[in-house]
Amino acid sequence: MIASMESQEFLGTSCGFTINPEEDFPEFGDLLDIIDFDDLLGVAGDVLPDLEMDPEILARDFSDHMKASSAITSEKTDSQGETKNKGISGRGKEVVSKRDHNETPVVETVVNYNGDSDCKRKHSSSGSTKNKNNEGKRKVKKVDWTPELHRRFVEAVDQLGLEKAVPSRILELMGVHCLTRHNVASHLQKYRSHQKHLLAREAEAVNWTRKRPIYGLDSTGANINGRNKNGWLAPTPTIGFPPPPPTAVASPPVHHHHFRPLHVWGHPTVNQSVIPHVFPKHLPPPFWVSDTPYWPRIHNGTAPYLPTLATGFRALPVAGIPQAMPPHHTVYKPDHGYGGSRSLVDLHPSKESVDAAIGDVLTRPWLPLPLGLKPPAVDGVMTELHRHGVSEVPPTAPCA
């Protein structure tokens, strides 16, 4: 019980209420499990590993939680530091700890929080022991970095400057209470390495563009910034209209690319509306998807964002970068967008880009799915194919 004792003391000092083991926890073997890490850590959220948090909700819920928990705290102190685990005697309201307890026979009832609003923690209603895994095995709760959350993070980092961006300050700036410094710290680490990654790519890209002047393009400041801020997760459409066409039309091929970049990947809303839908959260997909739409748009002779692919060296294996996106230059199709057949903003990919993309799948099948759609049922496909007279997949007969 030593560990428990220590924990209790710790609890006692840091949180302002005490636990009396004899009185309150006669049955509890393992106090570690009972310790309310929320109070310890002072956060309202991140309680459960499979939490999906919307920071807005968190912020909102947190205030609810605070009200609730202060109610609890006062109750606790009222009853001499009985913790919420002891659902007994003299208390009109029994407080449940925010997580379940494995071994306790004590009844836990749900406190009347406003509908479990606090950071979506799941309250068990009666001493169920289902959530073993969030008992203190994980002091750091898994945070779901939504695009919104990440955006705030990036804003904070930008304000501080990447060098000065320390987790505690970032946390302050973000103003999201449900994040721990640890969450921020690990996210920051990833972000930094991602940035380095980007920079490395850009640096390479610059070299390529130098050699291929015809693919030099202007990039708008907006794009670059957009890239910085949003390139990691779902990008916002920083690409607006292309610069005024008349000059572009009259000028040499270079300018044609103004239009190209606009919609290489189709309507910008693709990235927002479609991709976030389909992206399973457990994948690190935004990395790939969001990068790619910007690749073609953001390069010029000097701009840093040109991916190596963009200049047509599509066979170039850039380590770690899925050559998911086709080279930019291949997207250039002079007959499109000017002939007036299609608009400036919806341009078909060229054959080379498509070929590159498809070839990529053939040569590197281990690459992650760019969209991460739910895969089709194999049985369903096979049945359907049989109906159409295809008996073998892959077909050994020559393609009809």
């Binding site: 209209f241 005024p244 066409p245 008349p246 919609h263 990947w265 189709g266 309507h267 809303t269 693709v270 509306s273 479609v274 839908h277 389909v278 998807v289 790619t292 998911a324 996106m325 086709p326 299609r342 608009s343 400036l344 903003v345 919806d346 078909h348 990919p349 054959k351 498509v354 070929d355 993309a357 498809i358 070839g359 799948v361 053939l362 099948p365 690459l367 799915l369 760019p370 969209l371 991460g372 759609l373 739910k374 895969p375 089709p376 049922a377 194999v378 369903g380 496909v381 096979m382 359907e384 194919l385 159409h388 295809v390 008996s391 073998e392 997949v393 892959p394 077909p395 393609c399 009809a400």
Partner: protein, 95 residues
């Protein structure tokens, strides 16, 4: 029939279709592209596409909408742009 090779083949086709989706291609375009570039039987592509559609109804619904919207929108945008340019240039000439 070797199930695992079918499964992996289907997965590959799925992957390719996703690439095409990123290009905003229609189903027909996709079928053609896969056939041309990877020699995938059109019926296979189209079947996998349909099954994908079943599994990801929302996505494809949005995708379709976007596709049809683009047809209109793009023309509008073009027109707007041209209008703007004309008005801009006429302003300049007024000065």
């Amino acid at each position: 029939m070797a199930d695992s090779s079918s499964a992996s083949y289907i997965h590959m086709v799925h992957h390719m279709i996703e690439k095409c989706l990123i290009f905003n291609m229609s189903k027909e375009e996709c079928v053609e592209a896969l056939y041309k570039h990877a020699n995938i039987t059109p019926v296979i592509t189209s079947t996998v596409w349909k099954e994908l559609e079943k599994e990801n109804k929302e996505f494809f619904k949005a995708y379709e909408e976007r596709q049809s919207k683009q047809e209109q929108m793009s023309e509008e945008e073009t027109n707007q742009l041209i209008q703007k340019i004309i008005s801009d240039s006429s302003k300049e000439s007024d000065d």
